[in-house]
Symmetry: C2
């Protein structure tokens, strides 16, 4: 757009679920969101002048409106953002600003609509704004051969009036949704280099949790690429929780897995492996004062994830809930989220898969068989040694 | 389309996750899917002649192709369906059939593409089919002023060739996805008259589970409309699992709730209420030989659903996993699914909400406080009485 109407602001709309919380909770969430916004902009080195907080809205004053808007799509608790031009609520100014935006935005022979959202007392109605602005655009840009289409326009010119101020904008980018990170407690996330677990982590963050990823290192039964992938994924995920710890646990798990392969029925390998992961995660949860364990399991996705086997897995941890945000996701739906958040391309880098998976895994294991297999092993010692040898790393 | 090319078949594409199962599992799933398809068509009184099963595909011969296709969008394990015209794989016949479909389908001045999927040995290539058919369409319908657009066409003419047969079609309707109902075990679902729990139930069914909905009747602390809503929702959900039991448990819960309101700290009412529901669901799971409990909880959606409180809730049931498919869903995302599956409009019918919810519920309850409150009540007796007075109803 022209020099005079270069965007100077970003409108930040809060997730709808924040608005319906109790007054006290809403204020806490908004405070948290403001902090997360500031931290995120600072972290990515995106300059801004000022953040203004009004009920249900946040406005960022900046000369980098597009960059600020793009950056904030990665902050949870935000439903959408719009680069905007800030003006006074005076009708003449509004018309001038919209004309400038229309010149830059509306293509020849295209359809458009004008929408107005208004809070406060004004000499005009919202309808009046739409009508006046629409007419002015049609008159002024006769050569563009534009037409008004209120139901399915190719472009929209929006005016948001608040008391004596107004914002003019044409697009809204979708935000992360959910709740500000930090509004919920901490969860331990089992993070592999695969496709599913990063998406499960992301969904927990989206709903406000801070995460502590735990990577189980199966070497020598897998290669180092898997670990590198998991760490890169963790880095990618932490971009959504700027300002919070970026610590990852790396637990040596190959020895455990070798024991299961050697000293327990082969068809139970994956279940024994996962139960061990749950147990170790539980210890880490205690240390970290976390409130749950998050995994990427989806009903029936793998043999170890049948509804029968999930019950067998659950039995291994009694003091922490196992949260599985992907339970009802189809693989293609999980992949779609992974693509959107940038973890899919890391997850699908070539790596040697786990070589310990049996040809014929049990799909309906009996808990008593699993417990019998575990009774022959020194499970508690294995857990303790894994914990002792676990490392943490800030990524 | 013309009389000669009226659709006579429906192509049924299986969910992608079925195809990657082991040979044995895949066959079992396909057998189940065939049974579910038959049951669903029979239940809704949709006539068909024959169901033909080939690797990775099912074809339904029918003179009601559109109705069959629409009905099958409600069968899980199906990724998509297409009303189609069945012909021989002879190129001349293919061209004739596509021309007839093009006449009926392609609008004046629109863009189209021809796509071909081919299995078997033929004298022509897939590319060759696309080229020949495309050219013939352009020549034959000059008056329509059509143009070819391979990347973003307004309509598509598809040819699927399998050995000496071919199917011609223009549209694919999205199926339910997931796995055939019955491929996973049974789960107990806490079903209220609200928006969330039906969607959680549906997601469990989508991944192959059969469901046993349990409605907790809070009267006199709520009205009878809530119960009627829950039953209508159960009926709607069972349309997705035709051929399986349609039984709902109705558990009197009002007395329990009154006790919590009267004899326990008010801020804990919802947590005590839910823990009681979990315990009762657990008993029903034992009786029903179910493998888990499904709830509509989403992290942070309500005070009782903070990540801290979910841990407190979980502690009430130790022998069954609590599966929460909506953990990572925003409210608007849950509503969108509810609208799609037809439960949202029932859920939003006016009813008196629960009047027992406190003004200031605990958002971070302490497990010891909850256990102390429960120690003052005869929880086991309350559970037993609720179970004794529970009724089942086939809807």
């Amino acid at each position: 757009m022209g020099q005079n109407t270069r965007f100077d602001s970003v409108i930040v709309r809060l997730g709808g679920e924040i608005g319906i919380k109790s007054e006290w909770t809403r204020r806490e969430y908004e405070k948290l969101l403001l902090k997360n916004i500031r931290n995120t902009l600072n972290h990515f080195g995106v300059a801004y002048h000022k953040i203004i907080h009004k009920r249900g809205r946040i406005y960022v004053e900046t000369s980098n409106a597009k960059q600020v808007a793009n950056t904030l799509t990665r902050v949870f608790g935000i439903s959408s953002v719009s680069p905007a031009k800030h003006t006074s609520s005076d009708m003449k100014t509004i018309v001038q600003t919209t004309l400038s935006l229309a010149r830059a935005t509306l293509k020849k022979r295209s359809s458009f609509a004008v929408r107005c959202h208004r809070v406060g007392q004004h000499t005009y109605s919202s309808m009046g704004v739409c009508k006046t602005v629409g007419e002015q655009i049609l008159t002024r840009f006769k050569d563009k051969d534009l037409r008004v289409d209120l139901t399915n326009p190719e472009a929209t010119i929006n005016v948001e009036v608040r008391d004596d101020e107004a914002y003019v904008f044409s697009e809204a980018l979708q935000g992360g949704g959910g709740f500000p990170v930090g509004s919920q407690g901490k969860v331990i996330c089992l993070l592999s280099g695969g496709i599913d677990s990063p998406v499960a982590c992301w969904l927990a963050m989206k709903r406000g949790c801070t995460i502590v990823p735990v990577y189980f290192d199966n070497s020598p039964l897998t290669d180092d690429v898997s670990k590198a992938k998991a760490l890169d994924i963790a880095r990618k995920l932490f971009e959504w929780s700027i300002g919070y710890p970026r610590r990852v646990y790396i637990v040596p798990h190959g020895k455990n897995l070798q024991t299961f392969v050697k000293d327990a029925p082969r068809k139970l390998t994956c279940l024994l492996c996962k139960r061990m992961m749950y147990r170790i995660a539980e210890r880490i949860a205690q240390e970290e004062k976390a409130e749950g364990i998050v995994t990427g399991e989806a009903i029936g996705e793998q043999a170890s994830q049948t509804i029968t086997n999930l019950k067998v897995l659950n039995e291994a941890t009694r003091s922490y809930p196992v949260h599985r945000p992907l339970l009802g996701f189809d693989k293609n739906e999980t992949e779609a989220v992974g693509r959107k958040i940038g973890t899919f391309e890391i997850s699908t880098r070539k790596a040697k898969g786990c070589t310990a998976a049996p040809d014929k895994p049990a799909t309906k294991a009996k808990l008593e068989d699993v417990k019998k297999a575990e009774a022959n092993l020194n499970i508690e010692k294995m857990v303790q040694e894994s914990i002792n040898e676990a490392q943490t790393m800030t990524v």
